[in-house]
């Protein structure tokens, strides 16, 4: 017989994309519940197509199911249509594999990739019938544990979690699971278990800490409630990537998901040290995977999934030392198998243009540059490490190879930005257009004239970056800057060839509040959820009015979190976490940014950020 679904046929026939909720995909894992000790629900709090595109979740799913005593299953946010039906009919949220209520699981692990999913976390808890606040949970509720980049400032959602796992998931879960088995066997209280868990390393148990505030709302102290609870939590990190668990057979969704391909993680971390980039600091030091291991793994993943496309994943693939060897191998093998290759985030140079022209159609695709800032001064402020000459040379190579469509990504609202810096974005876009007319003679313009799409997003300062001290722009400033740029684009010679897009300002403000928020925000988040906020990452469902109402009703001063100038010695809500990069180093980088001094990347020189204490990756390589 087939698995019995949690939802009746009549519900599945009326919701959009019912296959989101049925499980049973190729490589999903079914175990006998009687033969496992621990049931683990792994949740990505967004819709199925987004969650299933996330590599980290697939890695942990495979790792957990590799343990014979654990059955790990998946949970996603039901889309709003099903959400309404489940509330109306009191249907509890369920796991996809066994279609069991989440409430019956031992653990609910939630991966938190972006701030805009916080209301979805509450949705998942609520629909599961699990009390929203950790303090209200009892012995029969699953242990709610969070992981992912947002746990590097978990404070706004600290009250909703029992544990946050800080760092890479491969290292400490086994110990936590064993401790859990002991907890069940010995009949400890939930508190006892959490207390012991807090001593495992990498585990932050929010309820075990007291926060005291100064009169101005900043943090006075952050102290453990018990003497044996660590006052700092160190990030967990995998030392040798090629020895650690990696998926062999990722799940193959039935429906089309955002990343509908095999994803090969070639390295973790980034050498660059861009000052706005949180990932670049959090995942230090850079650790490469062995190229032969990657080749073999690529073939295995393609064989086991039947996917028709493979893509490389890393923060900056061009910095991978054996990139050429790997790409040449893939081009050859994939050509034989009619598999497509996608090569994202490559620096544009002779090699990459050549490689890309082999794997994509120059007529149908575009080349992407992310200069992030228009003026050299601003690029130095953010430590982008590229010059206009690099960009123009790259563009020229792309034009000569036949591409005509160029996408450019910039940020507005970077610290210290002035009108001229903004206008330079338009000037640079125009220079690229000129480069085209210069590089491609009239009779060779067979693919049409150049088309440039210039996009800007609004800068949101993030914890654990040198810009964590920076005031964020106001909504009005953002709008004004977008307007200035629009005018500047229209003033360019080639303005007809440049299309300018900018992002919504409202979500950038909310993201800014949550990113550098503290525990005082949890009431407002819960209120926003109760008022109906959900799927905030989706522009169709985002309700700025309800969010603003919630902040007002909870007496939250938005400017305190966003536009306020922070004192260099302020204690930040996330200061008790340690991501490997010292606060002193971030401070030094913040001060250097004010003088637009460039810091060389890790491949050129070690700048002593602190991550060398892990004794791995680039830090121990001879230069």
């Amino acid at each position: 017989m087939y698995r019995k679904l949690a939802l009746s046929d009549d519900i599945l026939m009326q919701v959009d994309k019912p296959a989101r909720y049925i499980g049973g995909e190729i490589n999903s894992i079914i175990k006998n519940p009687d033969e496992v000790d621990i049931r683990f629900a792994m949740c990505f709090p967004d819709v199925y197509e987004i969650g299933m595109s996330h590599l980290g979740m697939q890695i942990l799913y495979g790792m957990f199911n590799g343990f014979t005593d654990v059955w790990c299953e998946r949970v996603f946010s039901p889309w709003t249509d099903l959400d309404n039906i489940m509330r109306d009919r009191n249907i509890p949220l369920f796991t996809l594999e066994s279609q069991t209520p989440v409430k019956d699981m031992d653990f609910l692990g939630i991966t938190i990739q972006y701030e805009m999913c916080y209301t979805n976390i509450l949705q998942v808890l609520d629909l599961s019938g699990i009390p929203l606040r950790a303090a209200d949970r009892g012995k029969n509720d699953p242990i709610v544990i969070g992981g992912g980049p947002c746990t590097y400032n978990p404070e706004p959602i600290a009250d909703f979690f029992d544990i946050f796992y800080i760092g890479e998931g491969e290292t400490r879960y086994r110990e936590l699971l064993d401790l859990y088995k002991e907890y069940k066997a010995k009949g400890w209280s939930r508190y006892e278990f959490l207390h012991k868990a807090s001593m495992l390393g990498g585990m932050y148990v929010p309820m075990l800490y007291d926060v005291a505030y100064n009169d101005d709302g900043t943090i006075a102290s952050f102290t453990p409630k018990e003497s044996d609870v660590p006052d700092h939590i160190n990030k967990e990190i995998v030392n040798e990537l090629s020895d650690t668990y990696y998926i062999e057979a990722p799940i193959v969704p039935f429906i089309k998901v955002t990343q509908d391909r095999v994803v090969l993680e070639i390295q973790r971390g980034c050498i660059r040290g861009c000052r706005f980039c949180q990932a670049g600091m959090l995942y230090r030091p850079v650790r490469e995977r062995d190229v032969d291991w990657l080749k073999q793994r690529a073939m295995m993943l393609l064989n086991n999934t039947g996917q028709e496309e493979i893509s490389l994943s890393s923060l900056s693939s061009s910095d991978y030392s054996k990139l050429e060897e790997l790409v040449d191998f893939l081009i050859e093998e994939c050509n034989d198998r009619s598999v497509n290759i996608s090569l994202p985030s490559l620096r544009i140079d002779n090699f990459s243009v050549d490689a890309m022209s082999k794997v994509q159609d120059v007529k149908k695709t575009s080349i992407t540059f992310a200069p992030e800032a228009g003026s050299q001064h601003m690029r130095d402020v953010i430590n982008k490490g590229i010059t206009e000459e690099h960009i123009l040379r790259g563009a020229r190579l792309a034009f000569e190879a036949g591409w005509t469509r160029i996408k450019l990504y910039f940020m507005l609202g970077l610290p210290g930005e002035n009108t001229e810096d903004i206008e330079q974005i338009a000037v640079l876009s125009d220079k690229i257009a000129r480069e085209f007319f210069d590089a491609v003679p009239k009779d060779k313009r067979v693919n049409g004239p150049v088309q440039i799409v210039t996009s800007t997003s609004f800068f949101v300062p993030k914890p654990f970056t040198p810009f964590q001290w920076a005031p964020q722009d106001t909504k009005e400033n953002f709008r004004e800057k977008a307007y200035i740029l629009r005018q500047a684009v229209m003033a360019q010679l080639n303005q007809k060839r440049i299309k300018y897009n900018w992002h919504e300002t409202d979500v950038s403000v909310l993201e800014g509040i949550l990113a550098r928020g503290d525990r005082k925000l949890s009431d407002a988040i819960e209120l926003a959820y109760k008022k109906g906020c959900l799927f905030d990452a989706w522009s169709d469902t985002y309700r700025d009015d309800l969010w603003m109402e919630s902040f007002a009703e909870c007496d939250i001063d938005i400017a305190f979190y966003t536009t306020r100038v922070r004192d260099i010695d302020e204690i930040f809500p996330w200061d008790f976490l340690f991501c490997g990069v010292d606060k002193e180093y971030l401070k030094k980088e913040w001060l250097r940014s004010k003088e637009a001094i460039v810091t060389p990347n890790c491949a050129v020189k070690c700048n002593g950020c602190g991550a060398a204490r892990y004794g791995t990756g680039i830090c121990v390589k001879t230069r």
């Binding site: 296959a19 190729i26 039935f254 039947g306």
Partner: protein, 243 residues
Amino acid sequence: MSDRIKVRIKFSKHGPVKFVGHLDFMRYFQKCIRRAKIDIAYSEGFSPHQIMSFATALGVGVETDGDYLDIEVNSLTSVEDMMEALNKTMAEGVRVENVIILPEGTPNAMSSVAAAEYRLIPKEGGKYPDKVLAAANKVLSAESIVIRKENKKAKKKGRAVEGVNDYIETDVKDRIYKAQISENEFNCLVDASSAGNVRPMSLLELIYNEAGVTLDPISIQIIRCDLYTSVGDKLMPLDGYGA
């Protein structure tokens, strides 16, 4: 090109996977073909695609014992090997039931479909009420069987006039090749060609109307039993070649 071999695959699909729609199911099958290492032929170009075509789409929620797709391969060891390799990599509820090599010149599956057989079963052990059984015998033995369908074309163009052309009535009597009903199941063999397709659920609706009972379509599981092509004046299953 001509040394490619045309292969027809018959499959069944039951259980939760019935909620996977046609386009997604096609993508599912393409990946199965790759995992099974079938030496399928690809189109040329930057994003090559497999030479594959399905006989007909299966609606979301409908199960099947006999649907078909045609593929072209460059080589194969045997149809048995291919069937085994595919069945090793099928999802829960999907099975390859048969694989045949098509004789030279066989029209493709899509254009061959002439008829389809269905079973319509009340879900969860439900039964057809007596009233419906009685009405069915009356409807099915009548001189004509007229199905009323909304005139979507006219509606869309805003040219529908109530009572004049808002509905289209068609007599489908001679497109129903077999139809019988018991309390457990309504079974029918009907025209499934692109020109004369008869929806089995429309027939059941007609019967319910006659009986004065309202039909909840979700309460009925539709299972397609098989697809047929016409050979002379006979119907033959799409994999009947050489049998």
